[in-house]
């Protein structure tokens, strides 16, 4: 048996094959989710919810906006050296 910390031991996500399976199944899920939209009847509260692919677009845009605004607006404002309070 190989020792636990041996350098050449390959773990699950070190193998290109498993990463490939993961990537393809993720892409397939995305396509499936986009397609599903047209087969369901939505119960909406607000008009914007009725837009096609509302949740997909909202999630993507909101995520990018959140990360970039945190990176380019908040971080320059609040970042200090680690010993700032010492």
């Amino acid at each position: 048996m190989k020792p636990e910390n041996s350098e050449d031991k390959k773990y699950l996500f070190d193998k290109p094959a498993s990463m490939k399976i993961l990537a393809w199944s993720f892409l397939l899920s995305l396509v499936l989710l986009l397609a599903l939209e047209f087969f369901i009847h939505k119960h909406t509260h607000f008009p914007s919810e009725e837009w096609p692919e509302f949740y997909c677009v909202f999630a993507f845009v909101a995520f990018v906006a959140l990360v970039l605004s945190a990176k380019y607006i908040l971080r320059p404002l609040v970042k200090r050296r680690e010993d700032y309070y010492d």
Binding site: F63, L66, V67, V78
Partner: protein
């Protein structure tokens, strides 16, 4: 009522006895406390119990209804999990503090009057502080003191409110309070400090990441949830809470994106989740309150699970907890990794996991009430949860870049504690009817509808897509070792300003006092008191001597001798008596 005890008593008395028990039995004894407490709890009928007369008021230690019972159940469950997770800890300070802290939380939720409520509320602070200080680092010590000061201020605010409120209403019963006037506003703000409202929140993100590995599990469960309970009891339907809650969900997610310490990320996440509860309480409909309370139950479980998985990472990696130091741990800590992912899926409201069935109730209540802006803020915050808790926590600890660390898997008792929490995360998410049956109001909400499941899954997958694209393109913010200043800047840096202001004003006052009183006033009083007898005496004697015909050299000699006698305090008794008499006559005339 002789066969059951107040739930708080079992934990507090049981906790204080812990140091007396030695060796192997200690672990068994500590695990037995929440079990015994739970058996005791399910035998307490609904109603009002343990009413104790106190002056002209009644203290109530057992206001048992559906709201307090549900918090009671979850507090017992999480105590068991947290004690199991901490079973390796030999430090009795932490063991006692954890149990007394849990007992105080139970005291808060079953208190039927404001006096005993306040006492238990303060005990929460006192007990929890030891879970922070027990880390015994300089950072923990500082954070603990700041934690104590903030909570002391909040407690005083609450006390002032309670005194005014009792004075106005004449009753100390703790029921619906509602926001009207100064007394209720002070109570409201007192609750708000423990609830980590915006600007009142930094004690949480400051202290929780500095607490001990096991202490943080207790901390994450009780203080904020007690505040949620208190708001649900005293201020349901208060409109201000809708906005406060919405802001709480939204602002921490920005901080969580750029934070390096993973336990601090979870602390921001805690505020974000409590925001959903506060918002639900503010909306105040039956569905919203149900949503808030059920989300509190689920959050206690999944937040504890996430903190436990990060704690296990720290435990096995020499207290490393920064994104920059970790990565790739799934290789040797697969079970901890799976538990962490279950917690992450629950908080992200993945279908079949617990967040899905409770958070959506609050969002649905907002939508039903046509609160479009609030609904959008909550939806945005849900995406933010995915970013920091759903993806960042598991990704940077267990995947991401390979840090080269190959630690051992977490010890069995930690895995078991995480396993129990993970079980309930999945159970509550997959079979919500059990949780729903315990909620304060009847539940008509159906979480598993096709549009809801599809919509939520779309939200999760496309947020994940955004994460992947941002990471691959190198646009994700790099993890860096840094401090991000938050509202605590005002008292951490502000305290320096306070010090300088006090230095200038108070020490300035001392300097002025020194110059005026010590330097000038004392000297002049001294001079005057020496000079006046002379003036008085000679003022009377010179005319007298002149009349009796004393002149020239003789008069000067007499004046000289009198002056010398007065200056050396050797004046003959006759003269002293004469001066005293003249003085008394003068006073008599002036009166």
């Amino acid at each position: 009522m002789t066969d059951v005890l107040p739930p708080a008593a079992i934990f507090i008395i049981g906790g204080l006895l812990v140091p007396l028990i030695k060796g192997k039995w200690k672990s068994a004894y500590m695990l037995l406390i929440p079990v015994a407490g739970f058996i005791n709890l399910i035998n307490i009928p609904e109603g009002t119990h343990w009413v104790v007369g106190f002056m002209e008021y009644n203290l109530i230690f057992g206001k048992v209804d559906r709201l307090s019972l549900l918090f009671g159940y979850i507090f017992h469950l999480i105590s068991f999990i947290a004690i199991l997770y901490a079973i390796h800890v030999k430090d009795d300070v932490q063991n006692v503090a954890g149990l007394v802290y849990a007992g105080s939380a139970l005291g808060v939720v079953f208190a039927g009057d404001l006096f005993s409520f306040f006492v238990f509320w303060e005990m929460l602070t006192v007990a929890s502080i030891f879970l922070i200080w027990a880390r015994r680092t300089k950072a923990a010590q500082g954070a603990g003191y700041r934690y104590l000061l903030v909570h002391a201020a909040g407690g005083l605010c609450l006390l002032a409110g309670i005194v005014l409120y009792v004075n106005q209403t004449g009753s100390i019963e703790f029921g619906y309070i509602g926001l009207n006037g100064l007394a209720t506003l002070l109570i409201f703000l007192g609750f708000g400090v423990n609830c980590a409202w915006p600007f009142l929140h930094p004690w949480l993100t400051d202290a929780y990441p500095e607490a001990t590995i096991t202490g943080t599990i207790f901390l994450s469960a009780f203080t904020t949830k007690c505040a949620v309970y208190a708001l649900a009891r005293g201020f349901p339907g208060t409109e201000a809470l809708i906005w406060i809650g919405a802001i709480m969900t939204a602002f921490p997610i920005f901080y969580a994106v750029i934070e390096n310490n993973l336990r601090r990320v979870l602390s921001y996440s805690l505020i974000n989740q409590v925001g959903f509860m506060v918002c639900g309480i503010g909306i105040g409909t039956q569905m919203a309150i149900n949503g808030a309370v059920s989300h509190a139950v689920n959050d206690i479980l999944f937040k504890a699970l996430l903190f436990m998985s990060m704690g296990a990472v720290m435990y096995r990696n020499n207290n490393k907890i920064n994104c920059t130091a970790l990565g790739g741990l799934y290789r040797t800590m697969p079970l901890t990794c799976i538990c962490c992912i279950i917690g992450a899926a629950s908080i992200s409201a993945v279908p079949l996991f617990s967040g899905f069935v409770s958070k959506s109730m609050v969002m649905d209540a907002a939508a039903t009430g046509h609160m479009q802006i609030i609904w959008f803020i909550l939806l945005f915050a849900s995406v933010g949860v995915l970013e920091h808790a759903g993806i960042k926590i598991p990704f940077f600890a267990f995947f991401g870049h390979d840090s080269g660390l190959r630690p051992k898997e977490a010890p069995p008792h930690m895995l078991l504690a995480m396993g129990i929490a993970a079980f309930f995360c999945i159970f509550n998410g997959s079979f919500p009817s059990y949780l729903y049956s315990l909620l304060p109001y009847p539940v008509e909400y159906v979480p598993y509808t096709v549009p809801h499941v599809v919509g939520q899954t779309q939200l999760i997958f496309f947020a994940a897509l955004a994460f992947i694209l941002l990471t691959l393109s190198g646009m994700s913010p790099a993890e860096m070792r840094a401090v991000n200043v938050d509202a605590d800047w005002f008292y951490r840096k502000g305290s320096g300003l306070f010090y300088r202001v006090m230095d200038i004003s108070m020490n300035g006052l001392t300097r002025v006092a020194d110059r005026v009183i010590v330097g000038e006033l004392t000297g002049s009083i001294c001079r005057i008191s020496q000079r006046w007898p002379e003036v008085l005496c000679l003022g009377v004697m010179i005319p007298l001597w002149s009349i009796t015909g004393v002149k020239g050299k003789e008069l000067e000699g007499k004046i000289e001798r009198t002056r010398a006698a007065l200056q050396t305090h050797t004046s003959p008794i006759g003269i002293s008596a004469a001066i005293a008499t003249i003085f008394l006559v003068l006073i008599y005339l002036l009166m």
